[in-house]
Symmetry: C2
Subunit: 490 residues, 2 copies
C-alpha cells in the first residue's frame, strides 16, 4: 500500500494529501471544497468529540442547537464581524425547485424567492445573541454556558482536506456573563481546556497566548489561542477562545437587571475547535509509512492478525486469542481481530501500519507452540516476540508508553525548531532555511506586523503570557517589551 | 408555573406548543420554520442519540459525514426522488456578500453567482450514492453499512416545534448490499431497531408494517415504518426504513464485480429517525401538569430539594444528602441537588414537575430527625414519606417501575383507541367521534386510498405484517385480504 506514497522529504504537501485519502480518512466530494469524512476519519472525530464534550460538561457547559441559517440583516449588526465573514458566505435565495417549462430538467423556481436572503452560518454569534436577548433578563439568568456541535460553511477559494474546507464540523461555545472579569476568566479557562486536550489526547504540544489585533476573530476584543508546530516547520492554529466584550450584547440589545436593579449589557465569549484538529493530528505524528495515531484517539488501538495455512490452525489461534480479546475489551481497549480470509497477512500488516494502529499482534502456529506472540508498535516500528502470558497488562502499559512517546517526540521536535532571531536578516534567513517558531521582538504596531507579513509571509502566531526580556523590534528597531512568536502557518 | 397553561382537553394543540416552550425544550427562532433546541431539550436528544448510536454500532454500522450541499443536477437523477423533494428545497445560489455600493448595508454580490445551484440536503441519498460509486468495485467492498448524524432542511410551509420544522436534526443510514435479499433483511432489521428503541427507551408502543405505495419515500420500492398513537388519537410516524432496490445504484452507476466476475448493480436501503421523536415523546406521556419523561431519557432522573429556614439546617441536610447523591451517581443515575437560595421550594416543586423529572425527593429538618425523606413520582403524582435507609435501592427500583408504568399506560391507551370499522359509515363516524387507529379493509388501490383521504383526511398508516382475515373494502366493497391501519396523522 505504501509504495506509491510520497515521502515528507519529497513533497510534504502531497504526502499529506495522499495520506488522508489512502488512510481512508476523508476525500473530496463532488461539491467544490466540501469533504466526505469516511468512517475511519469520522471515528477519530467521534473520539475527539467525546473527550471534549466531557471536558465542556465538567466545566459547567450544556449543549444546545441553533439554526443553520442566519438572516442577512443579523449579520450586518456587528460591523467587524460582517467585515470578517462577508466574503465567504454561502447564500440561500430561493426555497423551491420546479420542472423547467422548456423541458430542461429541474430549475430554481423564481417565484419562490426569499424576501430576505439567508446566510449558511460561518459561525453563530449573531443568531445566538439574537436568541440570548430573550433568555437573559436578570442576574439570575446568568451565566449562560452553552456549546453547540455543528457544521459551518466558509466559502474558501483554496481548500485542503481537514485543514481548510468550505464546510467543516466544529463545536462553538457561546457564553454570557454578568461581569467583564468573569468573561475573561471563561475565555482563559477554555483556552486551557483546549491546551489540555491537545497535549493529553492528541499528544500535540501547544503554545498558549493571545493574538495580535490583526489576527483577532472578527468582533472580538481579544483572541486567546493554542498553536502547534507541524513537521514541515509551519504553525497551525489549533483552537481559539474569544473575549467578545459587550460587542454582541450591544449589537443585539442584550441587557440584564443586576442585583442593584440596574440595566447592564452582558459580557460574552466564544470558543471553538474543528475537524481541522484531525489535520493537526496527522501532521504532528505521521511518517513516511503512513498515519501514526496516539492511542487515546485511535479507533482501533490493537489489531490482531492470525498467521495460518490450514483452517484448523486458524481455529486453534482463534481459541487462544478469544480470551485475550475479551480481557482487552474489559479494560476498555479497542481491539480488532482481523481473521478475514480475503486478504493475506502481509497485506493486512501494510494496511494497519498505514492506518496508524498503535499496536499490532501477529500469532502463528509456532507462537502457539511456544506460548508467544509477535508485538509491533507503530510509533517506533519495533517488533518483538513476547510471552502470551501477561499480554493484556503489557498492552495496557505499552499504549500509555506510546501516547507518552509521541508527545515527547513532538515536544523535542518543537524545541529543536524554536529559534530566537535578533536581527531582520537573521529572521529572514531562519524563515527561509529553518522555518519553525521564531521568537523575535516586535514594536507592537499593526503596520510593522503587516509589513513583515508582506515581505516574508510570516505572521505573529501569538503573544506569549510570560517573557519580559526587553529588546528592539527586528523590523523597525523600536523598543519592545517581550518577544512574540512568528511563523509561517496553515 | 402551570397555572397559565392550557389543558389537553381545552386545546390540545395549544397545550403541546406551550409545553414545549415552557418546559424549556425548544422555541421558534428568528428564521422562519427553524427552531432553537434549548439545553434541556437537547439533553433529551443526546440521550436518544447515545442509545440509537449504540444500537447502530451493535448491528455493524459506522458513522461518516457527507456534504451539506447537493448539486442540483444530482437531485434530478432519480425521477421519483426529485419529484418528492423539489417543492421544499432551500437553494444556495451565491457565495459572497458585499457592501452595497449605494450605501444600503450588505447585499448579495451578483458577481459571486454559482455556476450550478446547490441544494441544502433534505436527505442525502443522491450525494451519498455518488460517493459510493467510487467506494464499491468488488463484492469484497460490500456491504457498506454507514450512518450519518446530520441536520437537514425541508422548506415546510406550516411548521410546529419538533414535529415539522424547516431544519431538523436526524440520523440517516445508507447501506449498500450485494443481494436483494440482504438489503431487504437490513431494511427490516432497522425497522426492528427503531421499534425496540421506541418501546424500550421512549416507553412508546409502536405498530410495525409497510407503507402503501402512496405513502412511500420518494425513490423507495418499499417503506417499512413504525407508527405510534398520540393522546389526541392521531398517529405519528416515528421512524422509517426504506428498501430502495437498485434505483439509486442505477441512477449513479454503482456496480460491483461479483464472485463470478460479473458486473452487477448494488442494492440499497436508507433509514432515519429525527428530532421529531421528541415531539412523539411529549405527546405520548405528558399531562396537564406538564412534561412527563420516561426515566431512561430524562436528563435529570432524580431531583433533591432541601427544605430549610436557617443556613445551618441547609448544612445539615446537605451533609445527609451528599453520600446519597454519591451512591446514586455511582449507579449511573442522573441526580440534581437544587440548593439554590434564589428560588423557594414551592417554585422548585412546580419547575421540576413541569419539566417531567421522574422522581423528586424533598428533605427538611423534621425528616432529618425522623430519618425520612419525601419521595414523589411524576408519572402518578403520588407522594410518600419513606425511610432514608435503603433510599438508593428504592430509587433504582422506582425508576424501572416508572419506565414500565409509562409504557403500560401508553399501551393501554392504544388498545382502548384501536377500533375495527366494517362499513364506510362506521369508519367516518369513528374518525369523527373516536379517532385512534382504525383497522379496516381496503381494496389495495391507490385510487381508493386517495378518495378516502380526500373525504376524511385519514391515511393508511401502515399495512401490518400479520392478519389474514379477509373482507370487503370499506370504500369500494371490493375484496380485501387483510385489514390495514387508518388514522388521522401528524
Amino acid at each position: 500500500m505504501a509504495k506509491d506514497f510520497s515521502s515528507r522529504e519529497e513533497n510534504y504537501s502531497q504526502w499529506y494529501n495522499e495520506l488522508v485519502v489512502k488512510a481512508d480518512l476523508a476525500e473530496n466530494s463532488a461539491v467544490r471544497g466540501c469533504m466526505v469524512i469516511k468512517p475511519y476519519g469520522y471515528a477519530i472525530w467521534e473520539k475527539m468529540q467525546a473527550a471534549l464534550d466531557k471536558m465542556f460538561k465538567d466545566t459547567g457547559h450544556s449543549n444546545a442547537y441553533f439554526p443553520l441559517f442566519i438572516p442577512k440583516s443579523f449579520f450586518s449588526r456587528e460591523a467587524d464581524h460582517v467585515e470578517g465573514f462577508a466574503k465567504e458566505c454561502a447564500v440561500v435565495t430561493h426555497y423551491r425547485l420546479k420542472k423547467d417549462p422548456n423541458g430542461n430538467g429541474i430549475v430554481v423556481d423564481d417565484e419562490a424567492k426569499l424576501e430576505e436572503e439567508l446566510i449558511v452560518r460561518p459561525t453563530s454569534e449573531t443568531i445566538i445573541w439574537d436568541t440570548y436577548k430573550n433568555w437573559i433578563q436578570s442576574y439570575r439568568d446568568l451565566p449562560v454556558l452553552i456549546n453547540q456541535w455543528a457544521n459551518v460553511v466558509r466559502w474558501e477559494m483554496r481548500t485542503r482536506l481537514f485543514l481548510r474546507t468550505a464546510e467543516f464540523l466544529w463545536q462553538e461555545g457561546h457564553t454570557a456573563h454578568a461581569t467583564e472579569q468573569e468573561a475573561i476568566e471563561e475565555t482563559i479557562q477554555m483556552m486551557n481546556v483546549y491546551a489540555e486536550f491537545a497535549e493529553n489526547w492528541l499528544a500535540m504540544p501547544v503554545l498558549k497566548g493571545v493574538k495580535s489585533p490583526n489576527e483577532r476573530f472578527a468582533g472580538a476584543l481579544d483572541t486567546y489561542c493554542i498553536e502547534a508546530l507541524m513537521q514541515d516547520g509551519k504553525a497551525l492554529q489549533a483552537g481559539t477562545s474569544h473575549f467578545l466584550g459587550q460587542n454582541f450584547a450591544k449589537a443585539f440589545g442584550v441587557q440584564y437587571l443586576n442585583k442593584e436593579n440596574k440595566l447592564t449589557y452582558v459580557w460574552a465569549t466564544s470558543w471553538g475547535v474543528s475537524t481541522r484538529l484531525i489535520g493537526a493530528l496527522i501532521m504532528t505524528h505521521s511518517d513516511d509509512h503512513g498515519l501514526v495515531l496516539p492511542p487515546k484517539l485511535a479507533p482501533i488501538q490493537v489489531v490482531i492478525i492470525p498467521i495460518y495455512k490450514k483452517e484448523e490452525q486458524l481455529i486453534q489461534i482463534s481459541e487462544k486469542i478469544e480470551p485475550i480479546i475479551h480481557k482487552l475489551r474489559e479494560k476498555g481497549i479497542a481491539v480488532k481481530y482481523d481473521n478475514r480470509d480475503t486478504y493475506k497477512p502481509g497485506w493486512k500488516f501494510n494496511e494497519y501500519e498505514f492506518k496508524g494502529v498503535p499496536i499490532r499482534l501477529a500469532i502463528g502456529p509456532r507462537d502457539l507452540e511456544n506460548g508467544t506472540v509477535e508485538i509491533a508498535r507503530r510509533d517506533t516500528l519495533e517488533k518483538e516476540i513476547i510471552p502470551i502470558e501477561g499480554i493484556t497488562e503489557n498492552i495496557e502499559y505499552l499504549l500509555a508508553e506510546i501516547q507518552k512517546n509521541l508527545f515527547d517526540k513532538a515536544l523535542a521536535f518543537r524545541t529543536q525548531n524554536t529559534f530566537k532571531a535578533d536581527t531582520w536578516e537573521e529572521f529572514k534567513d531562519m524563515l527561509e532555511n529553518k522555518k519553525g517558531f521564531i521568537l523575535a521582538h516586535w514594536d507592537g504596531t499593526a503596520e510593522t506586523e503587516q509589513k513583515i507579513k508582506e515581505e516574508t509571509k510570516a505572521t505573529i502566531r501569538l503573544i506569549p503570557f510570560d517573557g519580559d526580556e526587553e529588546g528592539q523590534c527586528i523590523y523597525s528597531g523600536k523598543p519592545s517589551k517581550k518577544r512574540v512568536v512568528f511563523a509561517l502557518s496553515y
